[in-house]
């Protein structure tokens, strides 16, 4: 059973037909005034459509639209951490790990290069110069060599004056 307001809305929208239309119009107290009001309402509707350019939504469409908007808002909202935020995000941790690994690799290569047997000569003791007093040992000769086994550098001096066994005293 439709109320008067429902029938009025349907009449204004031109949705009443047949017997229902006749009964409603017969029930109107002032049909001329009602017709004028209907025309005004239709003009207003046309004006609103023209000016706002928006489609009039039905109730189902309106709720569906609201629901879609809410879902979109919730989906688009950034996920905030529940606890206190920290600088060490997963990405930064990965970067820091990569940088640390790179430093470790470079340091390791440096140490390995330092220990490379092919370059050990610079780590042997070097004799820059050696001198024997010619007045004391005029026939002395000097030679230098390395023992590769345990990296001993030898300054070999020949021709020094021999000394008696007493000089071996502690």
């Amino acid at each position: 059973m439709k109320t008067f307001e429902q029938k009025w809305t349907a009449w204004v929208d031109g949705e009443l037909t047949g017997k229902e239309l006749a009964e409603f119009e017969a029930a109107l107290p002032d049909k001329a005034a009602a017709e004028a009001e209907k025309r005004d309402a239709q003009k207003l509707g046309a004006l609103l459509k023209q000016e706002l350019g928006a489609d009039v939504l039905s109730n189902e469409e309106f709720f569906s639209h609201q629901l879609r908007e809410r879902i979109a808002r919730e989906s688009a909202a950034p996920e905030r951490p529940v606890g206190r935020s920290t600088w060490w995000t997963v990405r930064r941790l990965a970067w820091s790990g990569a940088v640390s690994l790179a430093i470790f690799v470079v340091s390791t290569l440096f140490v390995l290069r330092e220990n490379n047997p092919g370059e050990q000569s610079q780590y042997l003791t070097q004799i820059l110069n050696a001198r024997v007093d010619p007045a004391v040992s005029p026939n002395a000769t000097i030679s230098i060599f390395d023992s590769k086994d345990d990296r001993v550098t030898v300054l070999w001096v020949e021709g020094l004056q021999s000394l008696p066994a007493d000089y071996a005293a502690k």
Binding site: R92, T125, V132, V136, D149, D150, V157
Partner: protein
Amino acid sequence: MHKQRLIFTIVFALVMSATVSLPAAQTVWSGLVIAENVPQPAPMPPELTSIGQTLKELFGYNQFDVIGQSTKTLRTGQEDWLASSKYFGLHVDARGETPVGYLVDLKLYKEKDLLLETETKLSKRSPLVIKGPLVGSGQLLLVLMVQ
């Protein structure tokens, strides 16, 4: 902000690695050694154990006796010291650090006579052995090593 922290992390790591590689105080052992051949050789002195076999092969003696020695801990690399026996004196004058050890001047004295002098870059990994004069039936050796 992100870049600043990244740079700080890298600099911190580099400083730490540099700190780890800083040279610590080193101990230098210097000794006067008489090498000779005897029927019953005494055991190799503990200071020479690491190079004992090389000494035997190089000089052909079976006994090595330390007649004078000195152990010096170098903190500045500018120290000097004397290892002496009754008649010999080995003056060691460290004149600074090098990337691999120390720059040292050595002077061997027989009483007051200077027999030999040398300027050496002593490496921490490489002992120095100097063949000195013949003494009796043996040989005087000078040994310098960073322990």
